[in-house]
Amino acid sequence: MNTAALADLCYRMADDELILAHRHSEWTGLGPILEEDIAFSSIAQDKLGHAQALYTIMHAHCGEPEPDVAAFMRNAEQMRCSHFVELPIGEYDFSLVRHFLFDVAEYVRWTALIESSVEPIAKLARKIHGELKYHLYHAQTWMVQLGAKGNEESHARMQTALREAWPYALGMFEQGNHEQALIDEGIYIGEASTQERWTAMVIELLASSTLEIPSSTEAHLGGRKGYHTDHLQPLLDEMTEVYRIDPSATW
């Protein structure tokens, strides 16, 4: 097994899930209605679980640190998340649009990983795939509700959020350092194929939303190489504060 390539893939995916989980959790207690508060908190918990499962696989098969250490003891330069997940939660329209665009990509990734040549990843993918339909259902419902079935203001806000999120969303498909090995060894389909499937699915799911899908191809890159927005380090400082004070703390 090409453990370097596998770790490269897993860090990109796990760091995205971990950081977006943290962002989603910022809606806990603040959601616009109770059901949405619960939804974002639940989705955050699912993503955190996916991140933990990936860190666990890397620890078992790639010689990487324990999951808690991997999650809490790296600084921004060592993180491989995309800029998209680092952005603050903004208004609810932006958080919904990011939830939608990210979760379509997440669905595409885990669906493809069911066929991975790495057995523990394929097994995890079969499990996670079943959970993601609830995320997609939730995200798509709101895109259509606030797009086609909302009012002028909700439509305008969703359209603006979609336009602003787009270049960051495309940054999710920045390649890592082992792209060809991942493809050649059947570990993963690669970022170009991922983006192609993602685009098709976004178009399909937004068909009834009346929202216009941006045509821009500009992408905010750098996250997969350790170059991040200024939003990431403050997030890490907050997320890891307790662990850095006392790694044995339990609650």
Partner: protein
């Protein structure tokens, strides 16, 4: 010591989030391997990957097997045999209903259509004139519904 003895002991281990159901009826015990009277291996798998109750259940399972006088108990949590709601036993479905949770429908394929979440049978009056309010409830495995017949909100155990 037989596999049966171990399963019988595990019937006493409850899901901390839904105390009417045992880990056995929940279907999260995927294997019991009695290597000797002093060496038992149990494999379990979480309902959802991010289920926060799994560590509690894992240590409860270990304690229950130790309670049989087994010196070496190993509890492994993995995804070799992924949990789906089809793994719930009949007793498990009855236990969910007793807790006021609509049991999930059986399904055949991995890519399940979410239509099944509309018109879930109400656990209070049995009517199928119900609406899905949100696919996310108080725990990862539950959804929120409303019954138009008896006018009550209820929770469902969502199929995965």
């Amino acid at each position: 010591m037989t596999t049966h003895d171990v399963y019988a002991a595990l019937l006493a281990v409850r899901d901390p989030e839904i105390p009417t159901i045992s880990v056995v009826d929940m279907g999260i015990i995927t294997n019991v391997d009695v290597r000797s009277d002093d060496d038992v291996h149990v494999t379990m798998t979480p309902t959802f990957v991010g289920c926060p109750a799994i560590d509690v259940m894992r240590s409860d399972v270990e304690a229950a097997v130790r309670g049989l006088g087994v010196a070496h108990v190993t509890v492994d949590v993995n995804f070799d045999e992924p949990w789906t709601t089809n793994r719930l036993t009949e007793a498990g479905r009855a236990a969910l209903l007793k807790h006021g949770l609509a049991p999930p429908e059986q399904f055949e394929t991995l890519t399940l259509k979410l239509d099944v979440l509309n018109n879930v049978a109400c656990p209070y009056c049995g009517s199928r004139d119900t609406d899905l309010k949100s696919p996310f409830g108080p725990t990862l495995c539950r959804s929120l519904h409303y019954c138009n017949a008896c006018l009550q909100a209820f929770e469902g155990f969502k199929p995965v």
